[in-house]
Amino acid sequence: MKKRGVGIGCTWYGTGYGNGFPDVSSAFLEIHDDGSATVLTGAIDVGQGSSTVYAQIVAEELGLKPEDITVVTGDTDVAPDSGTTAATRQTYNTGNAVLRAVRQAKGKLQAYAARTFSCTTPEGIELKDGYIGVKGDPSRRMPLGEMVSTARLQGERFISAESFTAQTTPVNMENGQGAPYWPYAFGCQAAEVEVDTETGIVRVLKIVAAHDVGKAINPTQVEGQIAGGVAQGLGYALLEQVELKEGKIQNPALSSYLIPTALDVPEIESIIIEETESSGPYGAKGLGEPAMLPVVAAVINAIDDAVGVRITSLPATPEKILAALAEKEPERR
């Protein structure tokens, strides 16, 4: 018989290296005389989309389009270090470094433009839609590239170097005080499952995932990271197991160490929560790891709701579920 159940799982998760470990990201940036910009950083985009986020941040500040921005990463000969793509830190940490870098170069350009337009303060200079000019005065503006080009002929370039360090401290082991991580990520997911009481097979029918990302700089990528995290969490909950025998891995291949296929991943409904993180770029914080964390609890709780057995070791294989059912209802055997 197939029985359905629902369950939820919650997560809070400290992002970044934490515990006072030097968590530093750096970025170099230049605004070019053709109205484009290049940002260089060591942060590696492993598919999660960090390079896109940096292009969006630079474009937002300079009033350009993301496609006007060249992002150079991963070349240690030219790009400054930004630490590992790990710990859910590249949008927050390196995003902050990129934001600082672009604001530094932009400040120099605003100062130059203020002189050109006889504007009293650099703050009165606005960069928008590919133009640079005096706020509220359409007669005093020119294409961004033209301004940078003019400056360059006079020997001025708009180049910056910046870095950002996450603020954490080790925990005091005596009293438990300290700020071991910053910021924290929050999420909650609900799972609906169907358990076959004869085979023990669990089919996950739907996942609803709500995650606080501070600010979704790229909402499509947020949805993608939630989907990826859910798929990985499903593998953790139901499939993935390293089989060791005398220290040797018995299933060192994707044909024997199984992860979910497209057919195993259910409909995923993402809910993006934007609770501003004041220390993040535009209020943003990371999502990478937190997206996979609540899945296990939600699925295990849903199995319990469906058939009334508590699975206490992962993965929740059909064998474990049938064994637990047999223990609960001895007449099954």
Partner: protein
């Protein structure tokens, strides 16, 4: 290593006279065995260009399937869907789309993995196998062939399968660890000849329980000649559990599989019995 691509069965058999040469069908198992160094043939005889081996056709009272027919082609065939439903069902889920395009039904028998998805349906459908070698031709019931060791004498080519057309319904189901790209941990195929709500004859086959797929004669007999109703279905489930328990003995997988087979059998029978639609359309 030598590689040959004959255009006829005669040419292939001639090439197979030399020792150390193997027939190559889809290669989805053979190439892995070679990469792992489990076999090291001196030559491969690729059967992929022999058109005769790729045919699916009705011939009198028989449905003939060439050994080099791919799982994809079988799974797309209306003839297979109407006349050999269990085989058609097995072809929808075997491996992945890429593997289904490459792997062949003849190779499935030649490799004869305990978990071979194609064999339980062919067993349940009462298939015969046509073998050819330099020594001549032979037609043998698949159920009998699977009792031989070795399965095939060297230089023997699996020409194809012949399924008798006697108005049998059939159904297949398997248990894998996931929904795609999953090796069967348990598979079953049932075939049923019925009239006026009575199961005249039954065949029940199981895969991935023991060395090779097999037919359970006692189970088939206990279900034959009885009215098709709820208690028949429950007896089929219970009987399958007993058959699997007996086949697995004290193997580590026995405690799970001997129970789980019940759900798999129920699924295989559901498509046949549900709504009483004989051709399963």
């Amino acid at each position: 290593m030598d590689y040959f691509r004959p255009l006829s069965i005669e040419e292939a058999l001639g090439l197979a006279q030399q020792p150390g040469r193997l027939f190559l069908a889809g290669g989805t198992d053979l190439s892995l065995h070679m990469r792992e160094g489990r076999i090291n043939p001196l030559g491969l005889i690729d059967l992929g260009k022999i058109a005769e081996l790729k045919e699916i056709r009705l011939e009198g009272e028989w449905l003939e399937i060439g050994s080099m027919t791919t799982f994809y082609d079988l799974g797309q065939s209306d003839l297979i869907r109407k006349q050999a439903k269990a085989l058609w069902q097995a072809c929808q889920t075997m491996g992945s789309p890429q593997i289904r395009h490459q792997a062949t039904i003849g190779g499935n028998l030649g490799n004869c993995s305990p978990a071979a998805d194609g064999l339980p349906p062919l067993l349940a459908l009462g298939a015969e196998v046509e073998l050819v070698s330099a020594r001549g031709r032979e037609r043998v019931l698949l159920a009998d062939l699977l009792k031989r060791t070795p399965l095939l004498e060297s230089g023997t080519l699996i020409k194809g399968f012949l399924i008798p057309l006697q108005g049998w319904d059939s159904g297949f189901a398997k248990l894998g660890r996931r929904q795609a790209l999953a090796i069967a941990r348990l598979s079953t195929a049932f075939a049923l000849k019925r009239q006026d709500g009575v199961a005249l004859e039954v065949r029940a086959a199981f895969g991935a329980v023991g060395r090779r797929a097999f037919l359970s004669e006692p189970l088939a007999q206990s279900l034959s000649g009885r009215v098709l109703n709820e208690s028949w279905l429950e007896d089929a489930v219970k009987g399958s559990q007993n058959a699997v328990a007996e086949a697995l003995g004290s193997r580590a997988s026995a405690p799970y599989k001997r129970v789980a087979v019940g759900g798999v059998v129920r699924q295989a029978l559901k498509t046949m019995l549900g709504g009483g639609n004989h051709d399963g359309d």
